[in-house]
Symmetry: C2
């Protein structure tokens, strides 16, 4: 019998899910895997919390040192989130010789390099499957399942709140506000949804994935990030009519020594598998060499899905008792020299552009003139049917690949010269190749 | 530097892919993972085969004992396929203290239990990611990524040849014969495609997955198996008009102590993610508790995709040097007592039934009468438009859940009593819940 003694720090939603999981499956784990997880101590700010029946033997404390300093405890599960005091707790736990399981994406996105280095020098491991897409085993797929491959691109829908909102706007014709309230009513968005809808949650997750797969540790700050608050219902409708749909994509690409890492609303073909990933579902579409394309999707949030990732980490941990820890693939983070992150200005993508054009002769030629001066090729133009009541008509253009900086300059000129009625709307497109 | 000395047995399509992979990424593996894979010896029936430039140092032999008996070799990669002599080679390799990496689905499906037991008693591991869906990391997802979960159901498209053929019949209106020749012309079907189109290839893969996830070792013979050769273009069209599509699904379900394991053409909603898995792509849709639904898809065949799975196995192997091998999750196969495989006769599913009914009064009432006598509820009926030239008209019925045995008896009566012109066609439906 392989027995692992655990301490849990953070007894919130996910923490109590982990406790339930360990409790309900105790005998199953013994019978099938010959493993016993003994949860000895739980630390939480509020000591008042009740434990389920049958768990009265677990010690409750408000002082995490009671766990860190307990020589009987082999591994610490950190589920309080955020940087302070989580970072300190993880570092102390490693230094006290404990393995760490964490779902803390912000911590890993900001201090992953330091934490992994500390883990290595302490000859301990950090397990973090639930830090991205909760229990959907993306981390293991990238670090172990596709080990040895080189990653050309990652395209992910990794924030369920945004995907639920965009799905509602697309399928139920809701406004952003209506879709957000719906998400909040159903518990798919927090009362303060800022970090979800502004894209920062996705950026943290993408930073972790890039650091693991592309040979350079990057922080969330290095990910160009736009949220979904500016997406209008009109643009979703226009996109639909062009066979496109709008998703908040987390995108990473590597060519030679340059990495692109960005999170923004993105137009993709309705025919691509990611276009069918709706509601709270998450998905990651990976292009690896020589493997090819792989798609992994599932519920990327929720108490028990997150708990599932923590439990799978505990099994990895248990299966590595007595192993040289520095060979744990998911902890290998060596960086490739001279790898750089490409600035957003220098990135080329296709664009969807909506101009609100006055119904006058020559407007289109002025617009296209300025675009061509800035080396922006136009792939298609759709002018909506004439409407005598409207002072301006939407003109939708899909560009060829264009450099971000040039496009910004061109759209600015078109706007400032008063050729169009309002600030042009530009949304990036991806072919997902 | 962690050095693993390898012997490869079987230098065919996948074998040479593995050799290329190891050769091209040698320095990448050293730099990023601090791992060196030293391929010392290759065994193949035909010694004539040439090795790529720069690999002249690798020994070639026709005698596998040269690998099995070499004390320097840590692990054996078995890629000859089939049972004989593969089984003997794997057993001997384990007994000589070598770990084994294999892509041999037939071997694992037929003798997995014996091989895993031998591995355990030899304190060695068997790695087999490429045995199902090639390098798409399904084995690791099920055994490690979702470790601790209980698996309620698996629905898989795990044979690219059949999926390519059915996609061609559905999207290009090809007959089965045309779609098969197309697949053969493109190299997606073998000159003798029997094991693919009769479902046996999928059955072997499903047997492996069930053995790993549902607490009982089953062999391919215990999987109820129907191929796609009987699928007619008419039924694909009728299905489409009902919002359904036909896939060759490998299905496993577990409830209490009973397992369903079957491979057959299956009607599923066009809205389900598996309906969008087309061509040579494979996919597995898993329902695990408490994780929920997870979908994994990718190219489930091909030289380099299969090689990718072998390489990821080698990394697992290298990362477990010095580990207690009996804790390797993917090798844990304890069976749950009294688990049984349910007989197909006792399984209940919904059915699509096509009757060719003579255009006479009372036919429908006779059919429905017999069905109701056999407790088969009808969910919908579609009678195709009247056509004076046709001696019989297709009547399409979708049933509620009905027991296989009762349905067979009922259809037999309806046919024998001459109520319909030809043998009724019945295709199972799944809701994928």
């Amino acid at each position: 019998m392989n027995k692992i003694t655990l301490g849990l720090i953070g007894y919130g939603n996910v923490g109590s899910g982990v406790v339930q999981f360990l409790h309900k499956r105790k005998s199953y784990f013994k019978d099938k895997f010959n493993i016993e997880f003994d949860l000895k101590t739980i630390c939480d700010r509020s000591i008042k919390k009740k434990l389920p029946n049958g768990l009265d033997h677990i010690r409750l404390t408000t002082n995490y040192k009671k766990i860190i300093n307990d020589p009987e405890i082999d591994a610490v599960i950190e589920l309080i989130g955020g940087i302070k005091p989580a970072k300190q707790i993880v570092l102390e736990a490693l230094r006290k010789g404990k393995h760490v399981v964490t779902a803390n994406k912000s911590l890993l996105a900001m201090h992953g390099k330091e934490l992994f280095q500390e883990a290595q020098s302490c000859n301990r491991n950090i397990y973090y499957e639930s830090s991205v897409m909760a229990g959907v085993p993306l981390i293991k797929m990238l670090t172990e399942g596709l080990a040895g491959n080189k990653f050309k691109s990652l395209y992910g829908i990794i924030n369920g709140t945004c995907n639920y909102i965009l799905t509602g706007m697309t399928q139920k014709d809701l406004t952003f506000g209506q879709a957000l309230s719906d998400a909040q009513a159903k518990g798919f968005a927090e009362s303060n949804p800022t970090l979800d809808i502004n894209g920062m949650d996705s950026a943290s997750k993408l930073a972790i994935l890039v650091s693991l797969t592309m040979g350079k540790f990057i922080s969330a700050e290095e990910v160009y990030t736009e949220g979904i608050t500016q997406i209008s219902h009109h643009d979703i409708e226009h996109a639909e009519s062009l066979g496109l749909t709008i998703k908040l994509l987390a995108i990473a690409k590597k060519s030679h020594r340059e990495i692109e890492a960005r999170v923004h609303p993105t137009l993709i073909s309705k025919k691509h598998p990611l276009a069918d990933v709706n509601g709270i579902f998450n998905a990651m579409f990976v292009n690896a060499s020589p493997m090819g394309d792989v798609l992994l999707s599932g519920e990327g949030a929720g108490q028990m899905t997150a708990a599932s990732g923590v439990i799978s980490d505990l099994f990895q941990l248990a299966s590595r008792v007595g192993c040289p820890s520095d060979q744990y693939l998911a902890n290998i983070y060596r960086e490739a020299p001279q790898t750089k992150v490409r600035k957003i200005d220098d990135i080329s993508t296709r664009f969807y552009i909506r101009f609100m054009a006055p119904d006058k002769v020559g407007v289109l030629s002025k617009i296209t003139g300025i675009l061509s001066k800035h080396k922006i090729g136009i792939n298609s133009v759709t002018q909506k049917a004439h409407d005598h009541w409207a002072s301006a008509l939407p003109v939708i253009m899909l560009t060829d690949n264009a450099q971000e900086k040039m496009l910004r300059v061109a759209l600015d000129k078109i706007h400032k010269q008063g050729i169009v009625k309002s600030k042009p709307v530009a949304i990036r497109m991806e072919e997902l190749k």
